[in-house]
């Protein structure tokens, strides 16, 4: 999903800009650098995905960062605001109610459900009934499957992601932007669609293979309905995360360090092995951790691939426990969710340990990529990368399209037999899909726009205030996104199952509980572009407004919001993109009339109408690509670091 790349890239950006803020090009900048001016961004915020840290730019010292001019220098007025001046925001100046508002909102959205979950988990453990679930064979099997598939996925992601990252970042191949853009797609496309597409691509039932005459013989098993299949797809889904993490680490690699090595006579291979690889190990470790933790929490892929083969992972176990509701269900799923949360936390801690002591602060020119020229190898490298992309991305999508066009199962696809019936059914006849579409659009827009009301004040606070308060706020915002979606869904069920106090209305079973869960889950995603913009904004713009006499709301309206507008727009689009395709949270929270797109696809496939599921999935993919293209189109107005496929 999208939030992760944001944070990976934004983290690299934000640290660089922080350094600039500390050590500006002017002498006075040095004076200010002695002051703990900007809160060293609370560590939690520099976590990329799933709550861990990409190492703070290890290659840049505060004094030596070159003064940078934004590459967007131009006569447009927007360009002017992107130049950083190395000053700091002044403390105070925000009204007291702001802090209360932001904290209150974040507490309601983040702390409250999690506390409720923890409490239910503890009660479940005490009660004894629910504890039994921990010791059932099914749980052990699920735990084992989860760890195996997550580890396997991590290995595959690491391999593919690092390969792409090294080639794109370190060499002079052409078409880097297109390659990065395309490589981001597996991550943007919802996991259940990825799984569907791959299933349609492989096995004897594949319409694509059938049409090409390559289908395996009758009765061959579907190879993807296996632990290996799940691991493979997890690897494909999360490879872009590793890509981003490694690229971010490499972005700060010292050019002159590499040049010095080559002058010493080292061949490019030795330079890579002895210098670049060790220096990029923090990025590799970070990427591996992201991929692992994402693999643990992934629901869509094991739901589609595992259930037909009776393979359960912890998220699907929770889901099926919930689906076969019993008296001890709440306690049981609370306990299982806590288990998942603990494994995720362990993964993150391991990653923290691994990164300790890998502080490669070097002095050197930063910001320039070490470029290896490939010469004759260039074509081969480009061909390799594009063919990997073709295999991982294009082929499954083609299979998906093919399977949405068959008139009935098992009929080979040709221009005669092709039929748009599935699309007609999905778009015009099936009220469920229309409802799901409507719901998803509503939820996604409401979450995207509504979150700004929280994230803009929160971003302001985080950048101007310092100290433990800001750190606490940052952590509270990060946690719900770091947790696997299924855990969050359970937390929200428990927190809102009973009618709300005072109002006496129960949110359970309504669309509002899904909206609340989305608010909580995507708060961190919405915050990132806004934070980037705040960090890159010249603080003296606001100070001048203060001196001009403008109070907080006034200067928010006249100065800050217009300057934040592009980032806010990006935030809206990004949250919309993720929320519209979301499955995990809504899989547990949906009810009659509140299905979402993700749930619709899943249900259609689950009930055997996989042609309809494919048609809907194709539409979803088209929407994803369309929105990404829209973002790319807006790229020149956006602060750096907001779009993950750009540098």
């Amino acid at each position: 999903m999208l939030g992760r790349p944001l944070r990976v890239m934004a983290k690299a950006r934000s640290w660089r800009w922080l350094r600039f803020a500390f050590g500006g090009a002017t002498e006075e900048g040095a004076e200010r650098s002695r002051e703990p001016t900007r809160a060293p961004l609370p560590k939690a915020l520099t976590r990329t995905l799933r709550g861990f840290e990409v190492p703070p730019s290890p290659y840049v010292t505060e004094d030596r960062s070159p003064k940078t001019n934004s590459s967007k220098a131009g006569t447009g007025w927007r360009a002017a605001y992107f130049r950083l001046r190395g000053q700091r925001m002044s403390a105070g100046g925000e009204p007291a109610w702001l802090l209360a508002l932001v904290f209150g909102a974040v507490f309601l959205l983040s702390a409250l459900p999690l506390i409720r979950l923890g409490w239910a988990g503890i009660k479940g453990l005490e009660g004894g009934e629910a504890v039994r679930v921990l010791f059932e064979a099914a749980t052990f099997a699920a735990l084992r499957n989860t760890l195996i598939t997550a580890a396997g996925g991590m290995a595959i992601s690491l391999f593919v992601g690092a390969l792409f990252a090294f080639v794109v970042a370190l060499t002079d191949i052409r078409g880097k932007l297109a390659l990065s853009f395309a490589f981001m797609l597996p991550m943007m496309i919802p996991p259940q669609v990825t799984a569907l597409a791959w299933v349609e691509m492989s096995g004897p039932s594949s319409p694509l293979l059938k049409t090409l005459g390559l289908a395996p013989p009758l009765g061959s098993p579907q190879p993807l309905y296996s632990l290996a299949g799940i691991a493979l797809l997890l690897g494909v889904q999360h490879a872009p995360l590793v890509f981003l993490a490694v690229k971010a680490g490499l972005a700060a690699a010292p050019r002159d360090g590499v040049e010095a090595a080559r002058l010493s006579g080292a061949s490019p291979w030795r330079v890579f092995r002895d210098i670049v690889l060790p220096l990029s190990s923090p990025g590799l470790i970070a990427g591996a951790a992201i991929a692992f933790v994402s693999g643990i929490g992934n629901f869509g892929i094991p739901a589609i691939l595992g259930i037909p083969a009776s393979i359960e992972t912890l998220p699907t176990l929770i889901f099926s426990r919930f689906a076969s509701f019993g008296s001890s269900t709440f306690g049981e799923i609370a306990v299982l969710s806590t288990l998942i949360a603990l494994i995720s936390a362990a993964g993150l801690l391991l990653q923290q340990r691994a990164l300790k002591g890998r502080d490669y602060r070097l002095i050197g020119l930063a910001g320039a990529r070490a470029a290896f020229t490939l010469g004759r190898l260039r074509i081969a490298a480009e061909a390799l990368l594009w063919s990997i992309l073709a295999l991982l991305l294009v082929a499954p999508l083609l299979a998906l399209v093919a399977s949405s066009l068959v008139p009935a199962y098992g009929v080979p696809l040709s221009f005669d037999t092709m039929s748009l019936n599935a699309y007609g059914e999905v778009l015009f006849r099936q009220s469920m899909t229309l409802t799901a579409l409507k719901n998803s659009l509503f939820l996604a827009s409401a979450a995207a726009v509504g979150l700004l009301a929280v994230t803009i004040p929160a971003g302001y606070l985080l950048v101007t205030r310092r100290g433990r308060l800001a750190s606490l706020l940052a952590i509270l915002i990060e946690i719900p996104y770091a947790l696997p979606g299924i855990v969050l869904a359970v937390a929200f069920i428990l927190a809102f199952a009973a009618p709300l106090p005072l109002i006496g209305v129960s949110l359970y079973g309504t669309i509002w509980i899904i909206l609340a869960a989305y608010f909580s889950s995507f708060l961190a995603v919405s915050l990132k572009p806004v934070m980037s913009a705040f960090l890159q904004m010249d603080p003296s713009l606001e100070e001048a407004a203060r001196l001009a006499g403008a109070g907080f709301l006034r200067r928010m309206r006249d100065v800050l919001l217009p300057l934040l507008a592009p980032a806010a727009g990006a935030s809206v689009i990004l949250v919309f993109l993720i929320a519209a395709n979301e499955l995990t949270v809504s899989a547990l929270l949906w009810s009659a009339g509140t299905q979402t797109l993700g749930v619709a696809i899943f249900n259609l496939d689950d009930s055997g109408s996989s042609d309809l599921a494919s048609a809907l999935s194709v539409l979803v993919v088209v929407m994803v690509i369309g929105l990404m293209a829209a973002l790319e189109f807006l790229a020149k107005y956006l602060p750096e670091g907001v779009l993950p496929w750009r540098n």
Binding site: E425, A592, G608
Partner: protein, 326 residues
């Protein structure tokens, strides 16, 4: 940006408003396949303008779980239930969740097809037989053929944990001399899999992933008519049947509309809709859809409903023990 915000706000408001008032509304929980559920609802809405029906579709077991969860949480949403088998319905009746209603249409039905107090009414007859891929080497004629070595690893069936019809089918076959649970054990040893619902089985056999399957009749016959390379056979030993009963829930928020829905399903018009979808109608005197043999030639195996109710839990466990948990 300036125009974006008002536009989004307008869209949100429009979205919210559109969910507002129809004169009457109805919430249907069903285990029918998505397209059939949609067609049923469309026909009902056409015959009763001013009514908007929201429906939720999941396998019988899951839909029951959803229903129970909502009742427990004190927030039941469903008005009317349309699921695969009467055994599950009867359990609901005994737990007191159904609202008895004497439908005038009941006169056209055999007494065995509906509950004496009007708690539920059968709407169709759905049998489970054998589906096989047209390119399969062995053409089965009876259940025992599926345990043959030629069918090794090529057989699939729906799981009773998902499909109500599958549960009845297992209970029926288990009660037959010469089949019983040993038959299922033999299938399992022969590499048969049991997972998911009937839709999955149909897809697996039609696309060639498996060669043989146990599946409900209307699905197989319908797809064959659309060109799928499958054949359906009513096995020699006989078939199990479920009757897809409909019932009004006691906690219904729209009981009057729910009753209208029941009446519609039982009416000749409603039954004709079922026939068009490829189901055998339950109403007296109606012709079967194309592709079916004559009604009299279909040998339906008996199942003791009371016993079935009592043994459901145990039977589910037995089945899981043989095939795994899904």
């Amino acid at each position: 940006m300036k125009t974006l915000l008002p536009a989004v706000a307008a869209a949100l408001v429009a979205g919210l408003l559109s969910t507002a008032a129809f004169a009457e509304s109805l919430v249907l929980y069903t285990s029918q396949p998505n397209e059939d559920a949609q067609a049923t609802v469309d026909a009902f809405e056409a015959a009763n303008p001013g009514v908007e029906v929201e429906w939720v579709r999941e396998g019988t077991t899951k839909i029951m779980a959803k229903l129970m969860a909502e009742i427990e949480a004190g927030n039941p949403v469903a008005d009317v239930l349309l699921i695969a088998d009467t055994v599950t319905m009867h359990r609901l009746k005994e737990a007191g969740h159904l609202m008895p209603y004497k439908s005038p249409e009941a006169a056209a039905y055999d007494a065995s097809l509906f509950d004496g107090e009007g708690a539920y009414y059968s709407t169709k007859m759905i049998t489970t037989g054998i589906i096989y891929n047209a390119s399969a080497s062995m053409k089965p004629t009876g259940w025992q053929d599926l345990a043959k070595p030629e069918a090794k690893g090529l057989v699939t069936m729906p799981s009773p944990l998902t499909s109500g019809a599958a549960l009845i089918h297992a209970q029926t076959l288990a009660g037959i001399d010469g089949l019983g649970w040993d038959y299922y054990k033999a299938l399992a040893e022969n590499g048969a899999t049991a997972a998911g619902g009937n839709g999955g089985v149909l897809k697996a056999v039609a696309t060639g992933e498996k060669a043989y399957g146990m599946v409900v009749d209307f699905m197989a016959i319908r797809e064959r008519a659309k060109g799928a390379p499958v054949e359906f056979v009513f096995p020699a030993e006989g078939v199990s049947a479920v009757t897809e009963p409909v019932a009004v829930l006691k906690t219904a928020r729209n009981p009057e509309t729910a009753k209208k829905f029941v009446d519609f399903l039982l009416s000749e018009e409603g039954q004709q809709v079922a026939v068009k979808m490829g189901y055998i109608p339950a109403r007296d005197g109606m012709a079967l859809p194309a592709g079916f043999p004559a009604r009299e030639t279909i040998k339906v195996l008996p199942v003791d409903a009371a016993e079935a109710v009592k043994n459901s839990e145990a039977d589910l466990k037995t089945f899981s023990g043989i095939f795994g948990t899904n």
